[in-house]
């Protein structure tokens, strides 16, 4: 047996086979380099599936640019990977979906290639909150997907919909709420500021932040669950075990469509609007293709497709969209949103995190 292997596997043979294999493996990339292509990082799971189905094939048809979609993790792991790869001159993805906080963090190391806005036909129609700029005004990112966190409730337990975020503070709701567990994903400081302190500008000073923390501490007795994992709260909300809380508007819509007795309310202070940007890694050489992709995604018709098929909030002004009123209402609201103070989660991240943890754990 050994002899047989010795004969068939000579050193030269192995080397030859290795060369042949690496040649075969290298072929597609040579071919690809001749065609136009783009690697796009999208959040794995639902978003990647939706984009692979509803967006990328049509984009390739319209522009001739082939798209390779890369599943990226949420959180900051992807930012760290992009940064380390860029140091080595590599781009695991040319364009990536990036949270606002991560976009700001990437700015600090000039990780994002500034975008040439003259190449985007509908740049003027973008809502200002979906344009992420470097401090000197260069554009670092353009809104990719946006979603709402709203006040949700179980319709069996609450016959009437709550109208204000102040419901979270209502003494009648003791031990009934489910809230997100981290300052940087619940945005409850912003909610507190908008509801009780006249707006999120109140958080500019440390004094204002302390006041918001104090006010927020009053919510604690009402909270039954501080969740990190969505499924944990969704289940309890549907069953009425935890009948009120903050949750994602789109996912609540899916639950309603499935017949569960839940509702999502835009409070009068506004829903929380969170979003992700398209950002271009500085290590990427596909600058033109990336601009073509952002331009394609920022068309009113594409934003309509995204709202209808994926359930995201349009990044463009309402006037230019082709959404019917009920389609628009399903993914957005005319009430002025609460825009998170992303800057706080870069400049004062550790301080806020420490105070927050002490607030809810202590």
């Amino acid at each position: 047996m050994n002899r047989l292997i010795g004969k068939s596997l000579t050193r030269r043979g192995v080397l030859g086979a290795g060369l042949a294999i690496s040649g075969v493996l290298a072929m597609p990339s040579i071919l690809r380099a001749q065609d136009k292509s783009l690697k796009v990082g999208v959040y794995g799971g639902y978003f990647k599936k939706s984009f692979d189905e509803h967006v990328f094939p049509d984009f390739t048809k319209a522009t001739g640019i082939a798209v390779e979609s890369v599943a990226e993790p949420t959180g900051e792991a992807w930012l760290v990977q992009l940064e380390q790869a860029a140091k080595a001159g590599q781009a695991p993805a040319d364009l990536s979906m990036m949270s606002q906080t991560s976009t700001l963090k990437g700015q600090s190391t000039e990780l994002w290639t500034p975008l040439d806005t003259s190449k985007f036909k509908h740049y003027g129609d973008l809502l200002p909150r979906f344009i992420n700029k470097y401090p000197d005004g260069r554009v670092a990112g353009i809104g990719a997907v946006a979603w709402w966190i709203t006040l949700v409730s179980n319709t069996d337990v609450y016959k009437d919909a709550p109208t204000s975020w102040a419901a979270l503070w209502d003494k009648a709701n003791e031990d009934k709420l489910g809230l997100l567990a981290l300052a940087s994903n619940s945005f409850l400081l912003e909610v507190t500021a908008k509801t009780f302190m006249g707006g999120t500008n109140a958080l500019d000073t440390e004094e204002g932040l302390n006041k918001a923390f104090e006010k927020l501490a009053e919510v604690k007795p009402n909270v039954r669950l501080w969740y990190r994992d969505e499924a944990q709260f969704e289940q309890a909300l549907k069953s009425g075990e935890i009948p009120m809380g903050q949750y994602y508007h789109d996912v609540t819509g899916l639950a309603i469509a499935d017949g569960f007795h839940v509702r999502s309310t835009f409070p009068k202070e506004g829903g929380i609007q969170d979003s992700g940007n398209w950002v271009l890694s500085r290590a990427s050489t596909k600058v033109d293709e990336a601009h073509a992709f952002i331009d394609y995604m920022s068309q009113p018709s594409m934003q309509g497709v995204m709202s209808r098929k994926v359930g995201t909030t349009p990044t463009l002004k309402k006037e230019v969209l082709d959404l019917k009123p009920e389609e628009f209402a399903a993914v957005s609201s005319d009430i002025d949103p609460i825009i998170p103070r992303y800057d706080l989660y870069t400049s004062k991240a550790d301080w806020i995190n420490q105070k927050w943890t002490e607030l809810i754990v202590g």
């Binding site: 959180g75 900051e76 792991a77 930012l79 760290v80 940064e83 700001l104 963090k105 990437g106 600090s108 190391t109 567990a181 981290l182 940087s184 994903n185 039954r224 669950l225 501080w226 969740y227 990190r228 994992d229 499924a231 944990q232 289940q235 309890a236 069953s239 009425g240 075990e241 870069t346 400049s347 004062k348 991240a349 550790d350 995190n353 420490q354 943890t357 002490e358 809810i360 754990v361 202590g362």
Partner: protein
């Protein structure tokens, strides 16, 4: 059989593979973690190689001391509960016919196939007001109306004991099976009741096994971070939960590493202390 002391390098070769594995999968990652714990945190994103004590300084506070104390207390409690339940259970199991033993062990092994997530969600349903076991109590007239048994400390403890119990039994089983039955027969002949014989003969004879099992369950429970989140309130979050927060959500690797190093050192110290005390008692 007589064992000869190894004479040449070749005699040590069987050690190379385990040593290599230990280096690759333990020494290198752990050293990296220790190194990172001294790095400087840059709040706007990443960290830079450095040698600062900031991360450890931040940890040395009443707040984190409290969390660390709670985590250790919880792990000790889980270990004690597990051994208290598993030891008599395993002992009784070893007295059963072979077939029964096999069935029980297969059942226990199948519990091991459940992930922490499944265990957590299953218990959270069992303890819920809307679908939980209290509905059964209402049905048989023990309670007036169903109540939620979570989030509570009891729920966390139950979930963690449930998760660690199969391991405990499987670690105790070989030792109990090999226990010389004549020991017990002698005790009975000399007039001890079964319970007295169990506590005065069986338990002391297996003291080292019991201590080793306690340590294993303690270390196992110390790493738990999902069950405290699903079944407990924030007061019941362990240090592992806060480490995860720092590493994954705040991308503060240096601080997460410092906390992890601290946790490892404290638990190693506790394990060392336990062994030391055990040895001293044995020597007497």
């Amino acid at each position: 059989m007589r064992r000869e002391a190894p004479k040449s390098v070749a005699d040590y070769t069987p050690l190379f593979f385990p040593a290599l594995m230990l280096i690759v999968f333990f020494v290198v990652p752990f050293s990296t973690m220790i190194a990172v714990s001294f790095f400087k945190r840059n709040p706007s994103g990443f960290y830079t190689p450095d040698f600062v004590f900031d991360n450890y300084a931040r940890f040395l506070s009443v707040f984190f001391g409290g969390v660390l104390g709670f985590s250790l207390m919880l792990a000790v409690l889980v270990a004690v509960c597990c051994v208290c339940i598993a030891f008599p259970f395993t002992y009784l199991l070893t007295r059963r016919p072979r077939r029964v033993q096999t069935l029980w062990l297969v059942g226990l092994l199948s519990v091991l196939s459940l992930s922490e997530v499944i265990i957590g969600f299953a218990w959270s349903t069992l303890f819920s007001r809307t679908a939980g076991i209290t509905n059964l109590f209402v049905a048989i007239g023990l309670m007036d109306k169903p109540v939620a048994l979570l989030p509570t400390f009891g729920a966390v403890l139950t979930g963690m004991v449930y998760q660690a119990l199969p391991y405990t039994i499987l670690v105790l089983y070989p030792a109990l099976v090999r226990l010389d039955p004549t020991l017990l027969e002698a005790a009975r002949t000399l007039g001890a009741s079964p319970i007295r014989a169990f506590f005065n003969v069986v338990a002391p004879a297996l003291r080292n096994t019991i201590v080793a099992t306690l340590i294993m369950v303690f270390v196992f429970a110390l790493g738990s971070y999902l069950l405290p989140q699903i079944l407990g309130r924030p007061q019941h979050w362990t240090l592992s939960v806060l480490i995860t927060d720092q590493a994954i959500y705040q991308s503060n690797m240096p601080f997460a590493a410092a906390m992890a190093v601290f946790l490892v050192l404290i638990s190693l110290a506790l394990v060392g202390l336990t062994l030391l005390v055990g040895r001293r008692e044995n020597a007497l």
